[in-house]
Subunit: 468 residues, 2 copies
């Protein structure tokens, strides 16, 4: 490859491009070869350089074209200010937990498990099979692939004690991820301007969905063992709310798991107020030293609307959740979900079902338990050693996160910045509070990449907590 002759073509073509309209087709490779008396390889190299500079784009099979360059005149979108008006709801942005970060940091901020914790082989095999099958070209029913509906219903049904009627497949609505499930449920069961009780702290995605729908969040204080039932009862009575959103197993961020007694108490309160419990069972596959027991498995009167996601345990690419609701509530939810998304990709549904029905899925989950336990304990020990003034209300029995309380004097934004300067990425707990934060917290994910660096990360956090 002759660099200088390729450079000469680049220079010549840049001149040509300056005079050409956007979208003009460049001379063919053959013509350039003839004109400049160079090899096709040299021409191709020149075109790649121009493409990398954003000046041209090649369209396979068609040729190479002048890329339109954004005009120099500043764009005037000012008219949109009046057209848009003030937003009806002010949406918070995506959480810092959704940030993608470079590889050379210690990332404790994310909500997603590292790739090494995913069933990679199962996922790739399932997607490959789905690519060959019916699902690659078909359109599944709006409520979901019947076999996947059956699986979601059976999963919940197996936790139900004798005497309670398990859900049927037709009670299941398959959704393209649980986020859309949250907004659908909040819209279908609560509606704009109406109160929704929520644990405080609680999952930021639910707080975001509530803001989008325009429901009024009513925080119910929740500690390391779950919500305070007296406060819950009072909140229902005072607001007339008809729904309570909660994560009864390994809550994000606190890790709390409700005791069987609390489950019965909360269910009693919910029933008494003729209300719904919206149960977000996000960590069903992430039990470590305890097994998750869905509250929905203790109710067959349609009080619990149950949401289970496979995104985090199977793969972020297989964005599938199952929602289980009974009675008219299910019909309202399905109508909203249909208006929202029409139906869910059959490929993703088939692949999800394939993964979770393989014998090695159970093997994977058992191995995952051990990995999560080791990672959790490593981070807990490191924090105890290096951040002695911080406090863990409880070591979670499952889930992916530690909820670390820092001294009240901590300047949280500064701590986050100082840690990031040393390449330790953490998120301030404030985003997990629907109203004023109840303290200075960090949510630390122990399922991210590179657990060997947890002690280093704890040391960095400890240094800056001590300095602050």
């Amino acid at each position: 490859m002759n660099h200088s002759s390729s450079d000469a073509i680049v220079t010549a073509l840049r001149e040509w491009i300056t005079a050409a309209p956007a979208g003009a087709q460049l001379p063919s490779t053959r013509a350039l070869v003839a004109e400049h008396r160079v090899s096709p390889v040299t021409v191709q190299k020149a075109l790649r350089v121009l493409a990398a500079q954003g000046l041209v784009e090649s369209r396979p099979g068609a040729g190479t074209f002048v890329r339109a360059i954004r005009a120099a005149r500043p764009h005037d979108y000012g008219w949109q200010t009046a057209a848009l008006g003030s937003p009806q709801q002010r949406l918070p942005g995506l959480s810092a937990a959704m940030r993608t970060t470079p590889n050379d940091v210690i990332a404790l901020h994310s909500g997603y498990p590292d790739r090494e914790l995913l069933p990679e082989r199962l996922v790739r095999a399932a997607l490959t099979r789905a690519a060959r099958g019916e699902a690659a070209l078909g359109r599944p029913p709006a409520a979901g692939l019947p076999e996947l509906q059956t699986w979601f219903a059976a999963e919940l049904g197996t936790s139900m004690p004798p005497g309670l009627a398990p859900p049927s497949a037709s009670d299941v609505v398959v959704l393209p991820g649980s986020q859309i499930g949250l907004s659908t449920v909040f819209r279908a069961l609560v509606g704009p301007g109406n109160p929704l009780l929520i644990e405080s702290p609680s999952y930021w995605g639910a707080i975001l969905a509530a803001a989008q729908v325009g429901v009024d969040l009513v925080p119910v204080p929740s500690g390391p063992h779950g919500p305070d039932p007296d406060e819950l009862d009072r909140a229902f009575a005072q607001t007339g709310a008809r729904a309570f959103y909660a994560q009864p197993n390994f809550a994000n961020p606190s890790g709390a798991q409700w005791s069987p007694d609390l489950v019965e108490t909360v269910l009693g309160i919910v029933r008494e107020h003729g209300a719904f419990l919206v149960e977000d069972d996000w960590a069903h596959d992430f039990g470590i030293t305890a097994d998750p027991v869905p509250v929905a498995s203790r109710d067959d009167h349609g009080h619990v609307v149950y949401l289970r996601s496979l995104t985090k345990s199977v793969s972020p690419a297989i964005r599938i959740a199952g929602l289980i609701a009974r009675g008219p509530a299910r019909d309202r939810i399905l109508a909203d979900a249909q208006a929202q998304a029409m139906y869910v990709s059959g490929v993703l549904q088939a692949a999800a079902l394939d993964v979770v029905t393989q014998p090695s899925w159970r093997t994977h989950l058992r191995a995952l338990r051990g990995q999560l336990a080791a990672r959790r304990d490593l981070l807990v020990d490191a924090l105890r050693e290096h951040v002695p003034t911080a406090h863990l209300d409880a070591v979670p029995q499952g889930g992916l996160n530690l909820w670390l309380r820092l001294p009240e004097s901590t300047d949280l934004p500064r701590l986050v910045r100082d840690c990031e300067a040393e390449r330790v990425i953490v998120t301030a707990g404030d985003e997990w509070f629907p109203a004023e934060p109840a303290g200075r917290y960090l949510r630390l994910n122990y399922s991210g990449p590179n657990p060997g660096a947890f002690p280093d990360a704890a040391r960095v956090i400890g240094t800056h907590v001590a300095a602050g």
Copy 2:
């Protein structure tokens, strides 16, 4: 395999199951082999029979369990009536166009092309490659895979005349299908209780999304050549609306394509009223005797919000749409889309990009043109022969549908029923009207399965139109 011994085990186990609680584990295969003195194959056969009867379920790696039977007592979900209250918006159900039908009918009702019109080989290969790649386990940015954003921007950019600034990749938001795009745009740019102008007739999915968001639809009469500009101007002036939803190329259902003059006129009206045109370019890949020219390619001031779906032309399993908007409108839309869906499966995005950047994608689209032309003409000719009292305002130059006007005296619901009784599935046009239907219409899809039966279908329709 010994049928009678297998039957004996079935009988014995049915008794055992009747006495056992739901969820109880059955004796192991080994124990049953010993107890009944039969082969493991016979035991497995008996278990399969019980599973098929819904009495047990096997969980691979765990064993076989008694399935919970739905309790006989009727469920009382009556409490939900008060909890749910009246719906804030009454959502219409899914359109009859979404019905799945058996293979032995002539289906003219669907909105989706038959599988034989899809690029099956490309889709399967793209999904297989995506299953092997990064996308199978990664989480793409919220606005979409950068390469796919770039592709959507370039597609629109290539239609832009010199002098206009093409969109950039960052103006693109990748969405899990265009339906979610419609509700996101209506919510972000219009908002509940505010007016939205819409062609009448128009796409039922847009009417549904508008109902869900709670915007007030204002119909603007639209004929075989597009909307009436005077009516559009008057509707903007009278309602103060800030947005107009339309399908300028091969509108569903009418097939109308706006002339270049009408494009300029409508853009002028939209600009004058400081408003948005929400352009739904659903049929971009379905030009037959004309090429689609997006109105968005004639505007660089952010007045056109452009929505392009790949679902119908690539595969219903690859549910991907690209939305292009500029200025603050884009930020509002992205914030809503994130709150709604967080991000879109990377596998679907990678597969979509793979398909549309293969050289054979262009080859496929060229062949598709010919197929659609032949199907369209076949159905048009058959209708002219067999339904002489019906009227086609225009033969569409693209898209998938004919919009057939029937005599005013037609009893439309009865016609639909009578045709269905003869296994010809058609949908009444009423669902395409945001308010009162302007006439008796059928929307007939010529891209469904079995085009050879179109003459038969036309004969059936003709018989019942004549009889009615």
